[in-house]
Amino acid sequence: MKCVFVTVGTTSFDDLIARVSAPDSLQKIESLGYNRLILQIGRGTVVPEPFSTESFTLDVYRYKDSLKEDIQKADLVISHAGAGSCLETLEKGKPLVVVINEKLMNNHQLELAKQLHKEGHLFYCTCSTLPGLLQSMDLSTLKCYPPGQPEKFSAFLDKVVGLQK
């Protein structure tokens, strides 16, 4: 069973949820070989009706304590550009498509998506270009993401606050 997991973190991203649950998107996702779509909708006001047929299942929920399980069982993650969602997905080695929320102030999330795309770790698009990207993308070209190193932070801080012996 091939699964797509859509996440918007703690935000509301109605445009994405509406786009991805539209009948033509569902058809496209199924035609690409996926038979399960899980939508984590956060604070959103668009709440698609879950359903289950022989060939396809749509699950919808707002929050879970941890998205680790859903990311783990996904074959593709479509996410808003929040750092937490992106990093969790990349650290699990899952293919990631980031959808930019064009309605956000200054659209600061775009910078991270662009940078990680430049480094070959993900694809990004907007709600309107998502269907086209899903059709054309080649997930095998995505590169492994090396995790961050918080130990460098602790070493630095220990030194400057006088904790280091």
Partner: protein
Amino acid sequence: MVCVVILAAAAGAVAVFLILRIWVVLRSRDVTPRESLSILVVAGSGGHTTEILRLLGSLSNAYSPRHYVIADTDEMSANKINCFELDRADRDPSNMYTKYYIHRIPRSREVQQSWPSTVFTTLHSMWLSFPLIHRVKPDLVLCNGPGTCVPICVSAFLLGILGIKKVIIVYVESICRVETLSMSGKILFHLSDYFIVQWPALKEKYPKSVYLGRIV
């Protein structure tokens, strides 16, 4: 007439005193050796909290007690913090049970709130942040960019100017910020003792920042 002159002289003296204090506080980078230090952590919503908890996870238990400040409408962060602390206690039971505290203040700014009204809500947050900072008197304030951190850091800075306590202010710009600083970052760049960026483009633009690579 004489009164006006005296008042003007007094105002001038206060201004000079304040400027001197600001200069002293900004310049002081004394490294006093110590065994532990109390830390106040500002946890903004969503990804901000995730990032800051990753940073905290790398810090030893010498950083205690830990005080967390969250926006009063942010239950998700409270849950994440409780899980983090429980997990930490589970993993290292040999350590003395470290106390941690969660404090709530009104949000300085809701997502997509207009900037003019943000000035008022930030001032309101300042009114409540300063008593909190004054009560806790942390050794170090750690934050990573949500609007909530501006009143907190300004309050911590004020503690120093007023000669009450010098608080080390450490600001880590979010990993989302690759080319440009956040609004909080721009405001707090000059106030913080250590301003950490996670991408080389920002280090180039702000040479006084600290660059350690990606740390979350």
